[in-house]
Amino acid sequence: MAKTLPKTDVVIVGVGWAGGIIASELTKSGLNVVGLERGKERKTEDYYMVHDELRYSMRYEMMQDLSKETITFRSNENIRALPMRQYGSFLLGDGLGGSGVHWNGQTYRFLPYDFQMRSMTTERYGKNKIPEGMTIRDWGITYDELEPYYDKFEKMAGISGEENPLGGKRSNPYPTPPMKKTPSMQMFAEATKKLNLNPYMMPAANLSENYTNPDGVARAACQYCGYCERYGCEYGAKADPVVTVIPVANKTGKFQIRTHSNVRRILHKGGKATGVMYIDVTTGEEIIQPADIVVVTSYVFNNVRLLLMSELGKPYDPASGQGVIGANYAYQVIKGSAVGFFEEKQFNNFAGAGSLGISIDDYNGDNFDHSNLNFLHGGVIALSQTGARPIQNNPVPSGTAAWGAEFKKKSLHYANRTLSIGAQGSSMAFKHHFLDLDPTYKDAFGDPLMRITFDFEDQDRELAKFLAERCSEIMKEMGASHVDYLKELGPYEIMTYQSTHNTGGVIMGAEPGTSAINNFSQMWDADNVFVVGASSFPQNAGYNPTGTVGALAYRAAEGILKYREKGGLLV
């Protein structure tokens, strides 16, 4: 028999970026909030020994334990989905702060085009431009409407940056100045200007200078130690939920965090949630936490999985295209990149920060004419210097042996003579790309795993090639002696790390039927359930997702407070 606890105002499932932000905003306004996090507690003191590439990058110290829970994957409906038995394509967060602890901090805003992609594409190119089966949609919110929430997120996190000359309008400058410019970034700036492109410093959550945010949280500046991606920050310089929003929520005395609490079901009756059922994984005890409002912030996969397992919302049926939960799964087309080898110059490649870089948006969104192109959208192109750690970074020019004397010689030679330029290619939604429950494979509790059905399409192949060519032009202009770049994208595969930018499954929209939530992240089918995260993106933009996830979380928090007062659907 499950133990039932006293009711709380709000229960939050998963305390990463989205959960942390909402906890902070709601508790500041006086609501009682319980945060259930399946993983462990985290704090800055954990990171004494953090500069350990083997432990954190190769053995995935901070990620979800796949022996307990993973996903299954198939390229299409005609083959059997099999479990991702080892890490590869993306890395799942676990523990207080979620992936927000071991992210890089590249914190972009999406373009106005992204939010109105279907209507703006149709308007400019006609509706035949959107190929059969591509299910891109408008978000039901515009960039201008979301702008104040981006601003809030950036101020909370202390984002360092300068105005993007091709971005949407800003109400305020970035709260802190851009990060420092390294010699290679300088070269990128000069080369792109020569090519009549518009470089700007990558917006960074690494913190260019000491900063105190509007909540009074003070953090120290980044030391460029070169260990961000897959690592926690030993300085607290990188904005993560544990050093920003969670302490603010704790301070109110109204936030109860329960770690080691794995939520298995959202309980509901008559179109309203009544609470959640979770397992205390240290004792195995089954516990019911009743609540007036349930907030689901357990990252894309578990957001979708919890709704499907709880039979909340209408599951997506790829045959008919009806239903919404699990629809519009998309990703990021990240392989369109170029590597440059410099005989005459060495760089401090070992130094850096997760979001130390310089970007252009000339080939992103609809910032360039697609009339004669066989794809839509594009992606941000950037040169970044994130710290080239030696196990994972051994670039050699194409044609070099992969091991032995020649490999050793060249990999040592080029270790500090290589630069790379990469793109965050956008990813469109298709009718046959979706998430549902796997019929065969189970997690440690016996619940079905999430099943991904996804592959790259012609759209992605064309886009990746186009972006790789642009990257290579810039690299040549920068004076590389030799440039290698992607020629063929190939099929999507689960083994190589690409990005943890999974999107969709609980998408946002202007009306029920084609979307699962409204623009406050409130479920159309259960008005006291808010599902927040990149799961709400109808398709993915040409940027890293978290700036937008943060903005949506601030808006959802505002919606929850409104709902608390008035009840009912907010839109």
Binding site: Q86, G216, A218, A237, K251, F350, K408, K409
Partner: protein, 280 residues
Amino acid sequence: MERNSSRDTTALEEPKDQASLEDSSSGPDSGQVHDSSRRKFLVNSGYVLGTLAVGGVISSLFGCAKDGEDNADSSAPADDNKEAAAPNYNRALMYFTQAQFRIVEAATERIFPEDESGPGAKKLGVAFFIDHQLAGDWGFNGRDYMNPPFFAGEKEQGYQGRLKRRELFDIGLRELDNYSQTTHGKGFAELEPDQQDAALKAFETEEVKLTTISAGSFFKMLRSATLEGVYSDPLYGGNLNMEGWRMRNYPGSQMSYLNIIEKDFTKIEPSSLQAHLASH
């Protein structure tokens, strides 16, 4: 330019003007927000500047960096040709048999051979590294999803076998030796270097067909484990004396690159995690 940033005085002074999570005047993140253990941690580390304690773990790290480094020097593992040094007790086997160990030592040396730029896998201790890794979580696939049912999948779906890494090594090494016996009448470790290269190549290209495992995947695993042994922190048993890092001018673990980040290439003497261990 030769420079050791962890001893650099500007880096040591840097924290002084940094704001702090513990600054009692700075709102929600002060006082009771952070529990007493954090306070104790800062006090223990002896690093409090006036009323302002330094945020993050940086405080005690800067406080002890020097100690740590001295410590690292005196306990540095023995190199083959240094007489006075203490023995390196890490160099014994946790998993491999001696025969397996010799094959791994020979094979990894061909993957990352000694040359004029410095030591190869053998001197760096890569075979010890792999042995130690197979003895733990990684060897048992402790954090991988190993539940049935098992089906042969598409290439894009990744590893779908039921064998653990230690079992893959057992089989792969035995087959490498079998192949050497068949082609040259000698064990792999006894072959000439170019014969060893040819045998490894035959595995890499799957010219050798094995029934239980894929020769190519085994080679791939051996290659990536070799690079891990060359470049992981010396605490794991490879990268002896940080020579792997030194060969490619990788400075290992440094607390700050603030002073060189805007500059051209700067050579920095490497430092390992041992330098981060607070003295007790």
